[in-house]
């Protein structure tokens, strides 16, 4: 094991930023919620989630929170995901596929431009954890 220098310490910190952010709810660019109710899972939400995880890892994105939630109530348009850019209203995407969600990640999350063709709408009903 090489002996560390002060720079190495910094590097380790950079590398583990994603964990830090996730656990401490620190500064993040966006939060992507994949709706994973029974309906969502049945329509392939797991693929969406896996694709997202893979992509985030591949691109080494450290400032995006990925989470899931229950059924969003629009079972017919599953799989769905909500992208919530920091300080902006959430955007719901519907009828997703792995390809589509990658595009959303690319254009919306990283590029800042809403992919309107997949979007259901902007805004959300008041979420209640119950």
């Amino acid at each position: 094991m090489p002996k560390l220098t002060v720079e190495d310490l910094k590097k380790i910190r950079e590398k583990t930023r994603r964990t830090t952010m996730l656990r401490e709810g620190g500064e993040h660019r966006a939060k992507i919620t994949v709706h994973m109710g029974t309906c969502g899972i049945a329509s392939g939400a797991r693929d969406i989630m896996n694709a997202l995880i893979k992509e985030i890892e591949a691109r080494d994105i450290t400032d995006v929170i990925l989470t899931n939630s229950g059924c969003a109530g629009l079972c017919s348009r599953e799989p769905m995901a909500t992208v919530e850019m920091a300080g902006k209203a959430p955007v719901k995407y519907v009828d997703l596929t792995a390809e589509k969600i990658k595009e959303v990640l690319e254009k919306h999350v990283l590029g800042g431009k809403i992919v309107e063709s997949y979007a259901l709408g902007i805004g959300s009903e008041k979420t209640d954890l119950s």
Partner: protein, 608 residues
């Protein structure tokens, strides 16, 4: 180290402090992992073990990040449901969440819970957030930056100045200013070519205190980092952590942390390229309370009998192997890195005029939220007990709180607004001690409390000096006499004389403080003593020898229909009566064991 960090959407922070572990936290963890695998979530959800979360009352605990969702009192049975509902389907499970007493709605988010709300985390800054067995996670939370700063950018004098300015005082009990101690050690001449030692006192002997254990379990690197900074300040190249062997988890995590730190070059030769050398050895203590006393600890560390020696010379002058030695408590060391990285000014902005920063207390006894809390100095007892602690269970009335471990004093409810700092506690006849806080309700007999603590100190007295060895024995026998109804009024005079004399003339801190429970209870609850002696009654009905057990014949017949249970359980045939008829106690035969009272299902047995 992996090249790229794996991405997970959920981190499940399983509390693996000793409290939760003994509540089967590891089984919970196993069940979680199994279930996650079953649901094929292993690439999305990560299970992390953390150190003690603090809310031990409610263990085993699980915090889900992101979201800070707090699950408590988990059982293995709950896991499949939890995994499916929350982690797979995203629906947090309400019934596993915390509901405050007297309320009905559960609080899902940890930071919204009263217990956590009032706390300010400095020493416990990483609790529940990192896996203590992974040094990377500590580094990720800015770990070892303070050390880097101290080693590369600061002079020893600068470090000492910073610590002095911060107002940090020893968290082991006496509250000696840490910076001043460091300065003494730095300036003390060493007879052995400049060798000085650094010791971390982890011999947490108080039966009700577990903050040192918790820190070592949850965040061992913070102690290591603090010690390296201290070593640089005083010029030591060798450090010791004295941990009692009753803390196996703390020991194994500490040893692992030391190994990792050494591998990373954060300990050993030329740390971070600064040219500074320092290493730490772990010494296991055999669990004698007196070894928490610094001179006794040093004796034990040298392999000798753990008994204190007179001071001066203080260890700062002549400590381990007769060389200047700096001894600080685990909590003190854990505070050091934060002060260095965030600055003395920030630290000294927390707390009161004389007591800066925060203090960790272990809140135990008759209180709803048992656990470990870190609060800013100056917070009132009331806030701790009612806001953080959630008050007294079963709606009973608060009577007193005993602070500072077995040799601290009892503070009565009249003083509940007392701000917690070193001076106020001492003034009230108690002390900060290591931070034990035992809450007592109306059902507590203060004479019995004094007797209980005395029996502890008597057992733990090393026996070296007469006042402590013989005095605690004498005081205990008087107190026992009183609780058995054999006390006389002369006993109270002798008891006070003894207590004062022992406090005055004992050799070490153990003896000096051992009379505190007696003195404070005599000061605040004298009438209880008098009732015990004059009326031969225990108002709290704790001292059984003073109780008179009688059967309320009405209740016995009406509610219990003369169930005969008491008679059958009475060891001395002191209860007369037949099934279906009223029973009564023959007082001459009664040995006051209280079994009838305990077994009666109809509250027909009364105490007079």
């Amino acid at each position: 180290m992996e090249e790229k960090e794996k991405a997970y959407r959920l981190h499940l922070m399983v509390c693996a402090g000793t409290g939760c572990v003994s509540n089967h936290a590891f089984e919970i963890k196993g069940a979680l992992e199994k279930e996650i695998k079953k649901q094929s979530l292993e690439n999305e959800v990560l299970v992390v073990t953390t150190g003690c979360n603090g809310f031990c009352e409610r263990g085993p605990l699980l915090v889900v990040q992101p979201g800070n969702i707090f699950y408590q009192q988990l059982t293995e049975k709950d896991i499949p449901h939890l995994v499916e509902e929350h982690f797979l389907k995203g629906r947090p499970v309400q019934k596993l969440m915390y509901t405050p007493p007297k309320e009905k709605t559960p609080i899902p988010v940890l930071s919204d819970i009263d217990f956590f709300k009032g706390q300010v985390l400095i020493a416990l800054r990483n609790r529940g957030l990192i896996d203590p067995e992974k040094i990377e996670e500590y580094i990720a939370r800015d770990g070892y930056t303070a050390m880097a700063k101290a080693l590369n950018e600061m002079t020893p004098e600068g470090i000492i100045e910073e610590i002095k300015k911060s107002g940090l005082r020893g968290r082991g009990g006496a509250g000696f200013p840490t910076g001043v101690k460091w300065e003494y050690v730095r300036n003390a001449p060493s007879t052995n070519g400049g060798v000085k030692y650094l010791v971390c006192n982890g011999d947490e002997g108080d039966p009700g205190a577990f903050m040192d254990r918790s820190i070592l379990e949850a965040d061992p690197h913070s102690v290591i980092e603090g010690m390296v900074i201290g070593a640089k300040a005083i010029g030591a190249s060798e450090g010791f952590v004295y941990v009692r062997n009753e803390y196996p988890l703390a020991l194994s995590r500490l040893n692992l942390a030391l190994k990792q730190a050494r591998e990373y070059g954060l300990l050993g030769k030329d740390i971070l390229g600064s040219g500074f050398n320092f290493d730490i050895k772990v010494h296991r203590g055999a669990g004698a309370f007196v070894c928490g006393e610094e001179t006794a600890l040093l004796h034990s560390l040298e392999g000798r009998l753990g008994e204190p020696r007179p001071r001066p010379p203080y260890p700062a002058e002549k400590g381990l192997r007769d060389q200047p030695t700096c001894i600080n408590n685990v909590e003190t060391w854990a505070n050091v890195p934060v002060i260095i990285s965030r600055g003395a000014n920030w630290y000294s902005s927390i707390g009161t005029k004389t007591s800066k920063g925060t203090k960790v207390f272990s809140l135990v006894g008759k209180i709803n939220n048992t656990g470990l809390v870190e609060v800013p100095m100056g917070i009132s007892l009331k806030e701790i007990i009612y806001n953080i602690g959630g008050g007294i269970p079963e709606g009973k009335e608060f009577k007193a709180v005993q602070t500072g471990g077995p040799s601290g004093g009892c503070i009565p409810k009249e003083k509940i607004d007392l701000p917690i700092d070193f001076e106020s506690l001492t003034e009230a006849g108690s002390m900060m001690g290591s931070g034990g806080m035992v809450v007592m309700d109306e059902d507590t007999c203060m004479v019995d409390v004094a007797r209980y603590f005395l029996s502890f100190t008597q057992d733990e007295s090393c026996g070296k000096c007469t006042p402590c060895r013989e005095g605690t024995k004498a005081m205990l026998s008087i107190l026992t006499r009183i609780t058995e109804g054999k006390g006389t009024e002369g006993d109270l005079v002798l008891l006070r004389d003894l207590a004062e004399s022992i406090k005055d003339s004992a050799l070490c801190g153990l003896g000096n403080t051992a009379p505190n429970p007696v003195l404070t209870t005599m000061q605040y609850f004298m009438e209880e003593y008098e009732t015990h002696i004059k009326d031969k009654k225990c108002p709290a009905r704790v001292c059984r020898q003073l109780n008179t057990y009688i059967v309320d014949e009405n209740t016995c017949v009406k509610d219990g229909r003369g169930c005969d249970l008491c008679k059958r359980n009475c060891a001395t045939d002191a209860i007369l009566g037949e099934k279906g008829k009223a029973h009564r106690v023959v007082q001459e035969k009664c040995i006051k064991c209280g079994v009838c009272y305990d077994v009666c299902n109809f509250n027909a047995v009364k105490i007079e």
